[in-house]
Symmetry: C2
Subunit: 139 residues, 2 copies
């Protein structure tokens, strides 16, 4: 599992079309036309072949640690296939994405997510202080 965790002034995304790649992907139900968030941690993450709840748990802990360091309670979870050539089957990626969202349900974070399984535009405004870009791998 790989992740790019960014401390943002602003995140925005608009749904364009359903994705038909990787083969067999089932896009989640479209919950909105767009998602936006200000002053947040943006968590792009890519589920790879072999990933289980172990790697997901490590990502979850890393998000908690980073949110604490940059002092934000706003999280934008962004499933993102474009961080690896060894991506998981889409049903596994979707399941782990849903489980990650569930982990945050009982927390005090304000949490949103970008749509799983869609082509989307992306607006990113990243702060740029040391530590506002963090690349992580969990194996």
């Amino acid at each position: 599992m790989r992740a790019l965790i960014l401390h943002a002034n602003k995140f925005g995304t608009k749904v364009i079309t359903k994705s038909n790649w990787p083969k067999g992907i089932e896009p989640e139900k479209r919950k909105s036309l767009a998602e936006d968030m200000k002053n947040c941690l943006v968590v792009f993450f890519c589920v790879e072949n072999g990933d289980t709840e172990k790697q997901l748990g490590e990502l979850y802990q890393e998000i908690l640690k980073t949110a604490d360091e940059v002092k934000t309670a706003n999280l934008m979870i962004a499933p993102f296939v474009h961080l690896s050539k060894n991506i998981a089957k889409p049903n596994v990626a979707k399941e782990l994405y849903e489980k990650l969202m569930k982990k945050f349900e009982k927390t005090n974070f304000i949490i949103k997510s970008s749509h799983f399984g869609y082509h989307k535009s992306l607006l990113l405004d990243i702060k740029g202080h040391p530590g506002s870009f963090r690349y992580r791998e969990f194996y």
Copy 2:
């Protein structure tokens, strides 16, 4: 070598401070306070341990191919360490970045680059059509 190639409406970056990581990094001379570009291909690329001009040549070819497909002559080259845990020594990364810029000198592209060796803010507005996000690895 890893790369994230994005088809953007807009790219912007502002220099914040010199980076002192990875150890031994020598930031390039600051050429401006900020770099901006509209309707361009943004090429984030990360030089990894063992990368040579072979991988750089493959990246160069991929940029040409992608620019042709999305029909743009505007290129923003963005050295980006946050795509791998196996990064090259900073002098190697800098040398290959400079060589990449040199390769484009004799082409008709309008080419800019974000600063090597600085913490920078980042503004990205990505189109979102299928093919506007491309992750590549060159080994």
